[in-house]
């Protein structure tokens, strides 16, 4: 669990999938292998979309710009939900702060 990532995440944070995970998108969902925990997980479409957006270059704020075109929800709510979800994924060890950003 990466609590540093969880504490530090804001709209300017740049995240990437954790080095520990490997994932494959299947019909919108994602099958995730956590290598250290030796575990297989299924993530829903929203979580899988965030994994895709976490490319190690775009900030979480930039994700919100992209998702605003995909979901019919006001921007304030969207940003709050994305930040919360990103922090949860980081706390679960799925996302980590990108090096050198």
């Amino acid at each position: 669990m990466n609590t540093d990532s969880q504490a530090a995440i804001d709209a300017a944070t740049v995240l990437r999938p954790s080095r520990d995970i490997r994932y494959r998108r299947i019909d919108g969902e994602a099958v995730v292998v956590r290598q250290k925990a030796a575990e297989v997980l299924v993530m829903n479409e929203v979580a899988a979309r965030l994994l895709d957006l976490a490319d190690g270059r775009s900030s979480v704020g930039a994700w919100v710009d992209v998702l605003a075109g995909e979901y019919d929800v006001d921007r304030e709510t969207l940003e709050r939900d994305v930040l919360t979800f990103a922090a949860e994924l980081a706390a679960e060890g799925m996302l980590e702060i990108a090096d050198g950003v």
């Binding site: 299947i26 019909d27 290598q35 030796a38 575990e39 297989v40 997980l41 299924v42």
Partner: protein, 311 residues
């Protein structure tokens, strides 16, 4: 986020739990053969030929694998048995101990270490095997041989684009149903209940899936727990359905998404799912092996009421 299940841990400090000096692990397929006997096993994906056996080892294999044994004929996978020194292996108190082989994979080879065994799988370029053991026959050798063979067959099916799965397989006129789940999920319980309803249990431990001529088939393997005949081959059976097991007080079916089904199969693909060099390929193979609308979550009770709802 839902957890489909655990996979075997990847190797770190490979072999140290079993071997006195893991640095001396054989770098190639060579050594002193136990004898001049050979035997071929007509398991799915084979035949698998083993040479270098002594008379006691051959008799042990014949006794254990019965109708799967033959002499001569074409061979798909070639393996050799070599002697190992007793002093190479740690003495392990197995009381209350859960046994798991130690595997270490590279793109060219897989090394394995276990109780009184070391083995290699090499691609030269086809798959071949080598097994070193200090046991010259008998019950201990039977277990050693089977443990090696399980890994060999799993990798052979991977080579063929199929998968060996930790599951129970039950054949009925509709085809074979696979019941998957982690240890304790109920594979043997479901096998018993299905058998009581007149179905035939292929195995309650390991079975294989393969895509042939556009159809997914279930292949019986001689690796069984409490249910299934480990000495008699059977023809492949078309896959009727995949069922992820969950014990409950009532019986119910829910369709699995393709991601859930693939995750379940991945968690139940022993050895290969822990191989970082082959996991991507395994993912792709499993996607092809999951037929549309044939994967389910099965909540089942101990009363056996689940069997009618499968139809």
């Amino acid at each position: 986020m839902s957890v489909a299940g655990p996979i075997a841990e990847t190797a770190s400090g490979f072999g140290g739990g079993f071997l006195i000096n893991p640095d001396l692990f054989p770098a190639r397929r060579s050594g002193e053969a136990w004898g001049g006997r050979e035997i071929a096993l007509t398991l799915p994906g084979g035949p698998y030929r083993f040479s270098g056996l002594n008379a006691d080892q051959e008799a042990t294999v014949r006794e254990r694998f019965g109708g799967y044994c033959e002499v001569g004929g074409p061979v798909a996978i070639d393996s050799v048995l070599f002697r190992a020194a007793e002093a190479d292996f740690r003495t392990i108190d197995v009381r209350g101990w859960e046994y798991g082989l130690d595997l270490d994979a590279t793109p060219e080879a897989v090394r394995l270490a276990g109780l009184r065994l070391v083995g290699r799988l090499d691609w030269r370029p086809g798959l071949s095997g080598a097994l070193w053991t200090p046991d010259g026959g008998g019950a201990a050798f039977a277990g050693i041989f089977e443990n090696f063979l399980r890994v060999l067959v799993a990798y052979r099916f991977h080579e063929l684009g199929g998968a060996v799965l930790h599951c129970a397989a039950v054949a009925s006129p509709q085809g074979a149903r696979l019941f998957l789940g982690r240890s304790g999920a109920g594979k043997s319980t479901v096998s018993r209940l299905a058998q009581e309803h007149g179905a035939q249990v292929l195995s309650d431990d390991l079975n294989a899936l393969r895509l042939e001529a556009g159809a997914v088939t279930v292949e019986k393997l001689p690796f069984t727990g409490d249910y299934g005949d480990p000495r008699t081959p059977a023809p492949a059976v078309p896959l009727a359905g995949l069922y992820r097991l969950e014990k409950d007080t009532a019986d119910a079916l829910r369709p699995l998404s393709r991601a859930e089904a693939v995750a379940c199969l991945l968690a139940c693909s022993p050895y290969v799912n822990a191989d970082a060099h082959r996991r991507d390929e395994l993912f792709s193979d499993l996607l092809r092996l999951v037929p549309p609308q044939k994967a389910w979550s099965l909540r089942f009770s101990l009363g056996g009421g689940f069997w009618p709802i499968l139809s």
